[in-house]
């Protein structure tokens, strides 16, 4: 008798399947495009983070006689900007604020949007109506206009641009999480949890969230690229970072006057925004297909 039980335990241990997230990660790590993009993002982020240890020139220290050097000038591998500051140092240091401004709004919006969306989807009724109709109002504005309008009204500044971008990204995340939650709440395991005495908060936190977090997460990662472009765009308009802080959008703006003198140096900060944004997009696509269990 006990031998049979031991046998059962043994079999169960052998057949224990890999977890969902482990499977997703495995599939993702076998996709060369996603891995290449992740590597590029990681390298840029690490360089930005450890910039002080990279033995770079001072990104704030300019020189009036060494302005707008060409790419490849000795001592200035990527040239110098309109105030004679080293572009390599400024592009790497610029990654700090640019990446932060591109990621922070999506992360905050993900937390707030998921909470609101899951609450709306699970509780239904009046709560659902109140949350979803408010979200509808924000859908009546094109997202770029909304971001610029809020930043414009609040005034320039890093914090204000984070606030305005967060407000822009909450509504779409709420819509997505509400719709996935609504499709999950009618399933048997939710009823089972309720029958066993779990309260609405526990059901939402334990049973619903675990099942909806994946799709919401993937959707949110697809917003990072848009957020990078918009955040740099706000700085480009003068609504985000203030000079002399290195930030790619702002650098693009101040270098605009130099396109007749040294066009390719002027285009560099935009190339950085483009590279990071396309990598986030491809990575998000890779994650989506890795999580698609059907394929």
């Amino acid at each position: 008798m006990s031998a049979v039980a031991e046998d059962l335990v043994h079999i169960a241990a052998v057949e224990k399947a890999r977890g969902y997230w482990a499977t997703v990660f495995r599939r993702l790590s076998r996709d060369p495009v996603s891995m290449a993009c992740a590597t590029v993002i990681l390298l840029i982020a690490l360089a930005a983070l450890f910039a002080p240890y990279l033995n770079l020139a001072d990104p704030y220290q300019g020189s009036m006689i060494r302005r707008l050097r060409w790419i490849g000038t000795p001592g200035y591998p990527l040239g110098s900007d309109e105030l004679g500051r080293d572009m390599v140092a400024r592009l790497i240091y610029g990654g700090r604020l640019s990446l932060f401004l591109g990621l922070a709004p999506v992360v905050i919006a993900f937390c707030i949007g998921t909470t609101l969306g899951v609450a709306a989807g699970y509780l239904g009724g009046f709560v659902n109506q109140a949350i979803m109709r408010t979200v509808d109002v924000f859908y009546a504005f094109p997202s770029v206009l909304l971001a610029i309008a809020i930043s414009g009204a609040l005034g320039a500044g890093i914090l204000n641009s984070i606030v305005s971008l967060t407000i822009v990204f909450i509504p779409p995340i709420v819509r997505v999480s509400e719709s996935v939650t609504t499709s999950v709440r009618g399933l048997d395991f939710v009823d089972a949890a309720r029958a066993s005495g779990a309260g609405p908060f526990t059901i939402m936190r334990v049973h619903v969230l675990g099942n909806v977090l994946g799709p919401i997460f993937v959707y949110s990662t697809s917003l990072i690229s848009v957020c990078m472009i918009l955040a740099a765009g706000l700085s480009f308009l003068g609504l985000g970072t203030k000079p002399p802080e290195p930030e790619w959008g702002l650098m693009l703006n101040t270098l605009r006057t130099a396109i007749y003198v040294n066009p390719w140096v002027a285009a560099l900060p935009g190339a950085m925004i483009f590279i990071v944004s396309i990598c986030f997009n491809l990575l998000s696509d890779g994650m989506r297909s890795a999580m698609d269990v059907r394929s």
């Binding site: 509808d136 109002v137 924000f138 009546a140 504005f141 094109p142 997202s143 770029v144 206009l145 610029i148 309008a149 809020i150 414009g152 009204a153 609040l154 005034g155 690229s225 990078m228 472009i229 740099a232 765009g233 480009f236 308009l237 003068g238 609504l239 693009l252 605009r256 396109i259 007749y260 066009p263 390719w264 002027a266 285009a267 900060p269 935009g270 190339a271 925004i273 483009f274 944004s277 396309i278 986030f280 997009n281 491809l282 696509d285």
Partner: protein, 314 residues
Amino acid sequence: MLLYIAKRLVLVVPVVFAVALVCFLLVHIAPGDPLVSVLPPDASQALAEQMRKAYGFDRPLPVQFGIWVWNAVNGNLGTSIASGRSVTEEVMRAVGNTVMLAVFASLIGFVFGVMFGFLAGYFRDTWVDKLVTTISITGVSMPHYWLGMVLVIVFSVQLGWLPAVGAGPGGWAWDWEHFQYLVLPAVTMSVIPMGIITRTVRALVGDLLSQEFVLALRAKGLTERRVFVHVAKNAAPTAIAVMGLQLGYLLGGSILIETVFSWPGTGFLLNSAIFQRDLPLLQGTILVLALFFVFLNLVVDVIQAAIDPRIKRA
């Protein structure tokens, strides 16, 4: 059909009201006195009071909102603080330029997007599909204001073929003299909608081609051309919805492109309103652009219902 349009119109009323409320409140989340840009810092208390009264900022908020909405319904969006001119006039002058730019840009984006999308959908998983997917993901990830700069560098600075900024010698005529100013901004703006429409159409066509009715159409001996018509008709409602949304995004989101090219449209107006802290102008411009967007969504819904009778019944 008329009943459907009427129903949709009724649903639009609360949205318009909410949009007006958001535009109005924008001014009041703004820190500081709305008159700070025109009043000299050493202005007397009495003068400040007088100005506040003249602009109506001394009344309670709900009353101000009521007056503002009533005036807006009558076509009066107030007076610009910086220039002293009527906001309605300023916005109307700029809106034409923005609409022209957005329409040209979306034409380019829609034509190429639909073409690429169909190609990729029909030739799924071939090199055509891979090429198109690469183009579309590049378009979606492109910081378009940067693309504008790069195009200016190549076509204006280096080659000298096209003008870098401005909208040309006033007015509009169908000649190269005017048209050349439109080329670069329109191409720049078309990249994002092109990428998004390519993606949408590719997914739609791929999906439709794998459905059984296409098999049935082929089985009963229709030519590929007739099958294509069926597929196109089935893809149209969703594609049109996306296109309408994209046109709306271009109208409202042209501020970055207009800044790069100094294009005298609403984005340019918005930019100066923000930096001169001209709040009535900011309010008015945003309201007009948002109403355009709401109206476009309505038109899209009606067109969709006209093409696809299933939508009307829902």
